[in-house]
């Protein structure tokens, strides 16, 4: 643990402080395979330079991965990049991106259960890396939308082919995006919020 003394801990810049009126926060989780642009998306819409938080977990018994198939206690660090958007003087939205091995994200208690919803960022060059995470969101009943990060060198499938390949039900919104662009990333978040709103409306009238 390389803890620094209180004198040297770099805090936020003055302009990065939340106002004292901030009383409530919500979070959205951005998931997807390695290198698909999650941190890029967080950074493109965040009002602060993206930060990283981490959690260390141990697993007793045989190694976590077959690659390390020895009888050891394995420590796994799950790191998450996150950013922040002040919604009102009272309300703050946090966006968490989740690098690394996706199966560990789900061991972070409350990360998904407490989130408003999730954005699954997919890369058409490696569609299959998103399969497991989509399945886990479905199992947990976490509402999500799918954003297709548009890499110029990626194969361009029609959206309906992607929906079929991802086996997504009709109501789940899909949207193309460029995670580097703030407006595009914002539109993805808006798509998720509209979806959550439609769910809330349906529940209210049920």
């Amino acid at each position: 643990m390389d803890f620094k003394s209180s004198e040297t801990v770099p805090g936020p810049r003055a302009e990065d402080h939340l106002p004292h009126t901030a009383t409530a926060a919500v979070k959205i989780v951005i998931v997807g395979g390695f290198g698909v642009g999650k941190t890029t998306m967080v950074g493109s819409v965040s009002e602060i330079r993206p930060l990283t938080t981490e959690e260390t977990m141990t697993q007793a018994g045989i190694g976590v991965d077959d690659n390390y198939g020895s009888d050891t206690k394995t420590a796994t660090t799950v790191a998450m990049d996150f950013g922040r958007i002040s919604i009102t003087e009272q309300l703050v939205l946090y966006l968490f991106g989740t690098p690394g091995q996706e199966r560990f994200w789900f061991l972070w208690n409350g990360l998904f259960e407490g989130a408003l919803g999730a954005v699954v960022l997919v890369d058409t060059r490696r569609l299959e890396v998103s399969f497991d995470v989509i399945g886990r969101l479905e199992e947990r009943g976490v509402p999500f939308v799918v954003a297709v990060n548009d890499f110029p060198d990626g194969p361009h499938y029609p959206m309906e082919d992607l929906r079929a390949a991802l086996d997504l039900s009709e109501e789940i919104p899909m949207v193309k995006c460029d995670a580097r662009r703030r407006a595009s990333s914002r539109d993805v978040l808006m798509t998720l919020m509209r979806f959550l709103h439609s769910i809330a409306m349906a529940q209210a009238s049920a």
Partner: protein, 141 residues
């Protein structure tokens, strides 16, 4: 060329507090289904003590001056939280894992040196006015 094909999963009936290991056979390979536990680094508090319920986005605000007995980590935390700050941000700035920060915060909450502002979680939805506020805020970006 057609893309690779996924198969849909259905929601699990009973959702549990802690993520349960998936049923045998669902995932292949040894070790995939074993449950992980948090690694708690020993701080001022004995391990196993009650920890405050803190989320990554619980906002923490310092509400009292640091006592002379405060440790460097506590002093740093109290200084950071002069303006409201999420637990995730505290963890990032102090370069400490989330669970270590929750232990530090539990001590400070018990000593009433900080206050915690509880986040809004999805189970409290549907709160359409909250969703509408977020949408309105995003539109201004």
């Amino acid at each position: 060329m057609s893309p690779p094909q996924r198969r849909r999963r259905s929601p699990k009936a009973a959702r549990q507090e802690k993520p349960a290991p998936p049923p045998a056979g669902e995932e292949s390979g040894p070790g995939r289904s074993r449950e992980l536990e948090r690694l708690y680094v020993v701080t001022g508090q004995a391990s196993g003590g009650d920890r405050a319920e803190l989320d990554l986005v619980t906002l923490i605000v310092t509400c009292a001056d640091a006592p002379p007995t405060a440790q460097p980590e506590q002093l740093a935390l109290l200084r950071l939280c002069r303006a409201p700050m999420s637990v995730a941000e505290v963890s990032a700035y102090l370069n400490l894992p989330f669970s270590v920060v929750t232990v530090l915060l539990t001590e400070l909450l018990t000593a009433e040196l900080v206050q915690a502002r509880v986040p809004i979680v999805r189970s409290e939805l549907p709160d359409r006015s909250l969703l509408e506020a977020v949408m309105h805020g995003l539109q201004k970006l």
